[in-house]
């Protein structure tokens, strides 16, 4: 019998305890992987397409709710390094009813250049042509189309609130994004024709810059150009623009860290608890092992190995379980996107979670294992459980 086999036998000795421990770890790890995915999605770069690093957003310096003049578009176009500029007008409004369930992003934009600025959104060329030709046409994200069962040619009716107009759109195209953006885009001219105050104004502009190296320069140049204009601008990267929305949700970083540390600490406690129980029960056995000539070091190694094995198994099962939970979550309407992101990062979060579990097993067994290895033979043999 090798030491490894001895460790393995002991791991499964109390099956119920083993499964309860692993199960408990699995839930905490599932939570941990979920939180890590969120962190990556919010603050990392891997979810952003390469093109994203080449895009800038120009908005009114005062706030997103202030419109900027349409005349800015041509002026921005002439800034060196700028390839394309498109207007993006937040329409708001309601689809079907005002409930959160039927809320999604709707933007008025320019069909001629929209997909040039967002090349990572894929749309069949014939559908794009159809959209360009129909002033009341719209394009939607695959996921959004799936949610409402939209097909090409379907009517989509939006009731405006910011803009007092009822849009009767026809779906001309369905595009695919790496990560569903759940948005609907239509021609801004449709709104401009019906609402006088919408004419000559844009919500914000999306700029495509020729290379990521020129992004800083362009953003500086654009803001400098309008610094003394009646409507000054603020130009920032797409990532910074997105994070400013997240910042409005509060101190998200702190929230994630607080919950994640609670989860890690729980894993430590659970694993430590199990090892403490298991070692305590075997005090007499340890004494017997010592009598047989096993050194303190070997005994310490056996226990730590046992605990790390439980950690490893808990980690593996935990991450598999996390995947199961996350996959189930993607089916939940509305909350779906969070889980899609988590699924995307699973390959990254899984090894980290397993590592955390093994480390927790290692650390948590150290104290009780050390105590057991130090107990004298006579005391150990006399011990009553």
């Amino acid at each position: 019998m090798t030491l490894a086999k001895f460790v393995r036998k002991n791991v499964y000795r109390n099956k119920l305890r083993f499964w309860l421990t692993v199960g408990s770890m699995a839930f905490s790890l599932a939570l941990l992987s979920f939180l890590m995915s969120m962190w990556q999605a919010f603050y990392g770069n891997s979810l952003r397409s390469e093109q994203s690093a080449q895009r800038l957003i120009v908005r009114h310096k005062v706030s997103l709710t202030n419109l900027i003049p349409s005349s800015y578009r041509d002026r921005i176009r002439h800034v060196p390094g700028v390839v394309k500029v498109i207007p993006m007008n937040w329409f708001g409004g309601t689809y079907k009813d005002a409930t959160q369930k039927n809320f999604f992003a709707r933007f008025g934009t320019d069909p001629d250049e929209f997909f040039d600025v967002y090349p990572e959104l894929e749309i069949p060329p014939d559908q794009l042509d159809a959209w360009k030709k129909d002033r009341a046409g719209a394009v939607a994200d695959t996921e959004l189309a799936k949610k409402y069962g939209w097909k090409i040619g379907d009517r989509i009716i939006l009731q405006g609130d910011i803009y007092p107009i009822r849009l009767e759109l026809t779906l001309r195209g369905i595009f695919t994004a790496k990560l569903p953006n759940n948005s609907l885009y239509f021609n801004e001219k449709y709104v401009e024709e019906g609402v006088p105050f919408a004419k000559g104004a844009a919500g914000f502009y999306g700029i495509l810059v020729d290379s990521p190296q020129h992004v800083d320069q362009v953003s500086h140049d654009v803001d400098a150009m309008f610094a003394n204009a009646p409507e000054p601008t603020r130009t920032e990267t797409e990532k910074a623009f997105g994070l400013s929305f997240l910042a409005m949700l509060g101190n998200v970083k702190a929230f994630i860290l607080i919950i994640a540390s609670a989860a890690v600490f729980t894993i430590l406690l659970v694993s430590g608890n199990t090892m403490a129980m298991s070692i305590r029960e075997r005090t007499r056995e340890v004494a017997v092992l010592k009598t047989m000539g096993f050194t303190r070091k070997v005994i310490l190694g056996i226990f730590i190995g046992e605990s790390a094995t439980v950690g490893l198994l808990g980690g593996i099962l935990g991450t598999l379980f996390a995947l199961l939970l996350i996959t189930a979550g993607t089916k939940v309407p509305n909350a779906g996107n969070l889980f899609v992101i988590a699924q995307h990062f699973w390959l990254f979060t899984a090894p980290t979670s397993i590592g955390v579990a093994i480390l927790a097993g290692f650390l948590s067994s150290a104290i009780p294992a050390y105590a057991a290895s130090k107990t004298g033979i006579v005391d150990g043999l006399r011990h009553i459980g």
Partner: protein
């Protein structure tokens, strides 16, 4: 006959290490749940208890917030003549035309810029809000002046906001004349100034964003609201201010979903851990349990006793969780109002219902984790156990 609880307590004391670790595990779960519930309680306070039931908000038909409203000024005199409006200190109908706009201000601590709500109001705007808002320092802004009063919480988070300072937004500097407090409601995230000054600043002189009417009684408020909405000529919408804020609580939704997910996941993990501890307790005491049976205690009493022990363990955990979170009471954070895009400041609040929920949550964990081991203890054969 029931086994005395002191038996359980003595047992828990005997295995001090185990008890502490399990209770801590449950405590961590309770802590997380309490934290999330405190967030939600604070959010509710910021939205639901905002507004005055006697204030009727009038916005353009189809608009869903003060920010997306806006209509021509010629409707103001019509609104002012409606019956049921209270009189102000000058003997005039108490109404206030207002503009709500969003300005960007940098956080004092350098954590980025955020949207803040700026409200321009007519003089009656202060009068119809006097029960809700308290001036704690300086004076209110003067009509016709580039002056603002701002909330204590804005003052805490943004620079150049002391009385006498000038703060920059819109077309230039504004003088800060006073600081107010609004008891944790939505006004606590706002900057207030004169109607015309704010309208000028944002090139909106020819229109009014929304109008507040002060009703003489709740019945009059209800009548006013319907009268405004029913008038086909006006094309306006009326609602009680309280109703308006209630509608905005939906952004607590995301936090609630995440909270339920986090809480449940951690709770299931803790239930497993509690069950583990209780199974071990049963295993250690197998001979003791058999002895109790021999003494005449029934199976039911044994089950009861172990379930009680599990619940005691959980209660200990709940106590740890709640006590650890107490210092966080009043810790303020902010969220975005998803209707106006601007920041709403709120505080974590530990309320009685948060505590009750936390305790119930812990007890549920103890019960679920304790039942199976307790059943296992009662089922054992007396003779076999005694021989162990």
């Amino acid at each position: 006959m029931a086994i005395p609880i002191s038996y359980n307590i003595r047992n828990m004391k005997l295995r001090r290490g185990l008890t502490t670790m399990t209770a801590l595990g449950i405590g961590l779960t309770v802590m997380t749940a309490v934290f999330l519930m405190m967030l939600l309680a604070g959010l509710r306070k910021a939205f639901v208890s905002s507004g005055d039931p006697l204030n009727v908000l009038v916005i353009r038909k189809g608009a869903n917030s003060e920010l997306t409203g806006g209509f021509t000024k010629d409707k103001l005199p019509i609104l002012r003549q409606l019956p049921g409006i209270a009189t102000d200190s000058h003997g005039q109908p108490m109404t206030s035309g207002e503009w709500v706009v969003v300005v960007v201000l940098p956080h004092k601590d350098g954590t980025g810029e955020v949207n803040v709500t700026l409200r321009g109001m007519e003089p009656d705007g202060l009068e119809l809000r006097q029960n809700r808002v308290k001036l704690v320092k300086g004076n209110w802004f003067q009509p016709g002046q580039r002056e603002v009063a701002l909330s204590r919480s804005i003052q805490n988070r943004f620079g150049h906001t002391n009385v006498g300072d000038t703060i920059d937004f819109g077309k230039g500097p504004w003088k800060v004349t006073g600081i107010f407090e609004a008891g944790g409601t939505a006004y606590d995230s706002e900057i207030w100034g004169d109607f015309n000054q704010v309208a000028n600043q944002f090139n909106r002189q020819n229109a009014v964003g929304n109008v507040y009417l002060r009703a003489t009684s709740p019945v009059a408020a209800d009548a006013l609201k319907h009268r405004v909405a029913d008038d086909q000529q006006l094309q306006l919408e009326g609602m009680l201010e309280t109703e308006y804020y209630e509608k905005q609580t939906s952004n607590g939704g995301a936090i609630r979903y995440v909270g339920i997910f986090v809480g449940l996941t951690m709770a299931i993990g803790s239930v497993f851990a509690a069950a583990n501890t209780m199974y071990a307790a049963v295993a250690y005491r197998s001979r003791e349990i058999a002895t109790l049976r021999v003494l005449g205690f029934r199976r039911g009493s044994i089950v009861m006793s172990f379930v009680i022990e599990a619940v005691l363990l959980a209660l200990l955990g709940a106590a740890v969780g709640i006590v650890v979170m107490l210092p966080f009471n009043g810790w303020s954070t902010s969220t975005a109002n998803n209707v106006t895009f601007s920041e709403v400041e709120f505080s974590l609040r530990i309320t009685l219902s948060v505590i009750i929920y936390a305790v119930a949550f812990a007890v549920a964990m103890g019960l679920i984790g304790g039942v199976a081991p307790a059943w296992n203890a009662a089922r054992r054969q007396i003779l076999a156990s005694l021989r162990d």
